[in-house]
Symmetry: C2
DNA sequence: GTCCTAGGTTCATTATTCGAACCTCTGTTT
DNA sequence: AAACAGAGGTTCGAATAATGAACCTAGGAC
């Protein structure tokens, strides 16, 4: 692994649950030597991607990240456009809504609007979702570049729960269904007790760049509710796509597209 | 320079003005070889800190930055707390307000609320401000850790305009005045025609972690206006400090503190 | 066609990274 | 108070990863 890769892996150790970490723990969790970890941290601190709390000497994510994220957001306002739509949809459906952006083979959760209910699904900003096993992933696969989808399906597909669809054929079937309906549906494929529907968010070239998902406790879901949520998710995702300059119209019907995508090899 | 430092320097080439850059230009601007640049970019892409636009093959900041910034923000909600206060102050004063956070020896502009006027000061999110020569920098020095201030003043002090106060004594004088008033004032020290007042934002330990500044065209400023802006900036900065759990009360009077800070060596 | 510049890759050379062992400090146990 | 444990941090010879000149291909411009 490259030195830069190691440095980035240090950044990824900081989570909502553990936003400040000491040197030894960082080294342990990253599988690196303490001296190496320290050298990388110093480089990251100089780049302002990490800060060190002077009192506790623990490390945390740095202000440079806020700065870079703002620069990115000004150019490519994914979160800014998606957040209000997600809030509105969470209010409308009464369920947790989360928005993910595709990057390097996975979906990154970049915004979450929690349900107001006590019994709700909790999703954390920062969570990384696989492309199979989640409604978001299937929705993404149903509308992304075909070659990328094939490449992903060629790799190993982990099983996260007993319900995870982990076969290439099963995933393709789900993708076809998602392409036909415009939204995907997944029950307990990634976490027990969670039901999700998701719709793709489109970029300017008509391909998916992310997803919007509605996640509910399975106990509240029947087919009628799922269909209503799915259609609402599609509407919300379209609104975000439009806000980003994404084109949706030119896609044609879902099933055409599904056949196109999954025809290769 | 470390490999990681080089990778970070690549990130810093992306700005509001130029958010997508090609390989050759990145290499040129970073002063690196094309092969090296490419290798670093691949590592950054794998870490999702950079993305490559498939059509143009140009590079831009990646979704991982949004994700990491959100994790940081949840733990340390500087921007989230400061942004609405800055907007309110921009409305109240009719001038551009910008909020900066200290990191690695400089102030990073992390939020800007522009004046509604046609003739206004424009500040970009992402701009890096020195600690001398700007009202923000002086305000920060007046309330930060004394050792850090001394270390900074020990280094070279660039002159940005003919008006820049670039002598150690001059800066210390300005810092003392800022500590006495609670806010700093600077006319054309960083950019011609720009007048600023700034107040420090405090962290939980009573030391400055950032600043809030009001920037106006010099033509609109006289002493009375500057004082009004300064007092408003102090109020706004206090509000942000309080929102962050920062303590302000225990500081004592400004001049006591100034003497304390600048007494060393 | 020829020239220019772009993105991207190769591989012998070279400089940087690595990590076991070490130091220091703080808080806890005996 | 002595011994211990685990924290943060540093050192320096050995090992590995980074480097960059030269190269390839592709797309304009003329």
């Amino acid at each position: 692994m490259s030195t830069v890769g190691k440095a980035v892996s240090l950044l990824e150790l900081f989570t909502l649950a553990e936003p400040e970490i000491g040197l030894s723990e960082l080294a342990r969790n990253a599988g690196l030597d303490k001296a190496t970890t320290r050298r990388l941290l110093v480089a990251l601190i100089n780049g302002r991607l990490v800060e060190q709390e002077p009192r506790s000497r623990r490390y945390r994510l740095g202000a440079g990240l806020s700065r870079l994220a703002r620069i990115r957001d000004a150019h490519f306002p994914f979160v800014r456009v998606a957040a209000p739509v997600a809030r509105a949809l969470a209010l409308e459906t009464g369920e947790t809504v989360h928005v993910s952006e595709f990057s390097a083979g996975a979906l990154l959760t970049v915004d979450v609007a929690l349900s107001a209910k006590a019994n709700r699904v909790n999703v954390d900003v920062g969570q990384v979702l696989p492309l199979h096993g989640t409604a978001s992933g299937i929705a993404f696969l149903s509308a992304c570049d075909g070659a990328a989808a094939d490449a992903y399906l060629g790799g190993p597909l982990d099983k996260f729960t007993p319900h995870t669809v982990a076969s290439r054929e099963g995933v393709m079937e789900a993708v076809r269904a998602a392409a036909a309906h415009g939204y995907s549906r997944s029950a307990q494929g990634y976490e027990e007790g969670v039901h999700s529907v998701a719709a793709p968010i489109f970029g300017a070239d008509g391909r998916a760049i992310g997803t919007l998902a509605v996640a509910s406790p399975v106990s509240r879901i029947d087919d009628a509710v799922a269909v209503r949520q799915g259609e609402a998710a599609v509407r919300a995702a379209r609104e975000i796509s439009a806000g980003l300059g994404g084109e949706v119209a030119r896609l044609g019907t879902g099933s055409e597209r599904a056949n196109f995508i999954l025809s290769g090899n």
